[in-house]
């Protein structure tokens, strides 16, 4: 059934349809409506899950780690400072190979205090080993939750679903709501081979000597590499059943494009409207949305971008002292294989609006820029 709902609730409905068994969360700012609705669903029996309210996000992830280790399908949601407080336990979830799904609402990190969107909270967790999927619509966000559980449980790896604060989280739009009895065919109940069981005691998370530690790290990387194909396969299965698929990346009018804008999150959606306008004016331009950031789909991205004459990456984030973070990854995907110039643009930090006008400004600047090495262009900064 189609309903007009906000992005936060799209996440809640995705979790309901996935029949998570344990939800643990810190309920105060920077928390969002995601777990508010889930707690109501737990209370009124709409979802048969245990809701564990905790005193911090660190404890929320710790509770998820325990629940997942005991064999439960486990979910949490957070944002900005909350995600940062989880950092230690994010590592734990990866090392312990626990298929936890987390929804992170991209909010800028303080100080100065902010509740508005940018990607530095999730991107600063880049190297912990969580899969990261960036969504652009409420529908995609809801649909990505059962996809994430399926991928997570097959790989024994945790997955983070990421959405822009306000531009998705507080925006109401039409969502075709998933129902559990339908999703069950796609995502059967979770029964892991190994779990904490008092009748069959084992030790978990023990000391690993230099003789063993590296192999376990190798296996995590192996799982990540396997994830590229698996995400695609699972997305295909979802599309077959529900008629909606999203891919690792989403190229738009890129086939004959001379210049391609690389985007993520809600900017990808706005960019497509700009691409159509500029195409009507005769500009050979396309847009590439990067949906899956970890594992980074290097080959798929190379395939699309290597045909262009110029690439412009829009980053709603920055690695201070480096560049835009998507920019760095894109550059590494193309390095040594093509000499297409890649320009980097920093825009929309702390929730500053990225309008069609801003995207057009970036596109026009990129088209006329003769310097192929301008890696950082700040857009709209008042000086």
């Amino acid at each position: 059934m189609k309903k007009v709902i906000m992005g936060n609730h799209a996440v809640s409905y995705g979790v309901r349809a996935s029949e998570a068994k344990v939800i643990s969360a810190y309920p105060i700012t920077p928390q969002t409506h995601v777990v508010e609705l889930l707690s109501e669903m737990c209370a009124n029996g709409e979802i048969d899950a245990k809701f564990i309210k905790v005193e911090s996000e660190h404890s929320a992830m710790a509770a998820c780690v325990g629940a997942a280790a005991a064999g439960s399908r486990t979910f949490t949601a957070t944002s900005s400072q909350g995600l940062l407080l989880m950092h230690e336990m994010l590592h734990w979830a990866v090392g312990a190979r626990l298929p936890i799904v987390l929804a992170n609402i991209n909010r800028a990190v303080g100080p100065p205090w902010s509740i508005w969107t940018d990607q530095n909270d999730s991107l600063s967790q880049r190297d912990v080993g969580w899969l990261q999927i960036y969504c652009e619509s409420n529908q995609e966000t809801q649909d990505t939750i059962p996809q994430a559980f399926k991928v997570a449980e097959e790989l024994q790896m945790p997955v983070m679903i990421v959405m822009d604060a306000f531009f998705l989280s507080h925006t109401f739009e039409i969502v075709d709501i998933l129902e559990a009895q339908e999703v069950r065919k796609f995502l059967p109940p979770y029964h892991p081979d190994i779990k904490i069981d008092i009748n069959d005691p084992h030790s978990f998370g023990n000391l690993a000597s230099p003789e063993h530690y590296m192999e376990l790290r190798y296996m995590i990387q192996e799982a990540m590499e396997k994830a590229v194909g698996l995400i695609k396969k699972v997305d295909g299965e979802f599309q077959k059943q529900f008629g909606r698929g999203y891919g690792l990346i989403h190229p738009y009018r890129c086939a004959d494009a001379e210049i391609i804008l690389v985007t993520s999150g809600t900017v990808a959606s706005t960019a497509r409207a700009v691409i159509d306008e500029m195409r009507d004016e005769g500009v050979k331009i396309g847009a590439l949305k990067v949906r899956v950031f970890r594992p980074f789909p290097f080959e798929e991205i190379f395939e699309v971008l290597s045909r262009a004459k110029k690439v412009a990456v829009i980053d709603r984030n920055i690695s201070f002292g480096g560049h835009g973070i998507f920019f760095q990854e894109i550059k590494s995907a193309l390095y040594g294989r093509t000499d297409v110039p890649i320009l980097g643009y920093i825009a929309g930090l702390g929730g500053r609006d990225i309008t069609p006008g801003v995207i057009r400004q970036i596109a026009e600047q990129a088209i006329t820029d003769k310097n192929p090495h301008r890696y950082i262009n700040w857009i709209g900064v008042k000086t």
């Binding site: 509740i115 652009e136 531009f167 109401f172 739009e173 809600t266 706005t270």
Partner: protein, 170 residues
Amino acid sequence: MIASEILADAFFNEGKYVQAFPAFGVERRGAPVVAFTRVSDEEVRERCQIYEPDHLIVLDAVLIDTVNITEGLKKGGWIVINTNRPVENGELMGNYHIATVDANQIALRHNLGSRAAPIVNTAIIGAFSGATKLVSLDAVKQAIDGFVPLKKEENMQAAEDAFNAVKIIS
């Protein structure tokens, strides 16, 4: 904010693509708040605030004197205002279609909110429907039925009363 959601839902009931969102900020009761609704025959792709609206709904007439309400508003659009006084602003009347409704009084008649803070969301959307005819009263009532958790009947009746009572000024 609730009004923008009900309006979006009403258009959705008529088969349109919709999007509704608040001007993103920290919400406080009583402070001026802006919320937006986008309506289209095609999927809405723009995900940013609206700077040049086609139409405007003013929930509190005090704002006419304290905020530049027509900033960015496209000429020839509708302005639907909650007020019990006549609008005598020549500039507004010359450039826009103006409609007024005493939504406070309608809300209070149906026990929606208090005298100090009447809840006018449903009445004002009924008035928007009545003045502009862009969305039907049935679609608005259906949206209220789905969206409003309490006093559904009262809210639907408030929308209908405002639909009938709205005065077209220019």
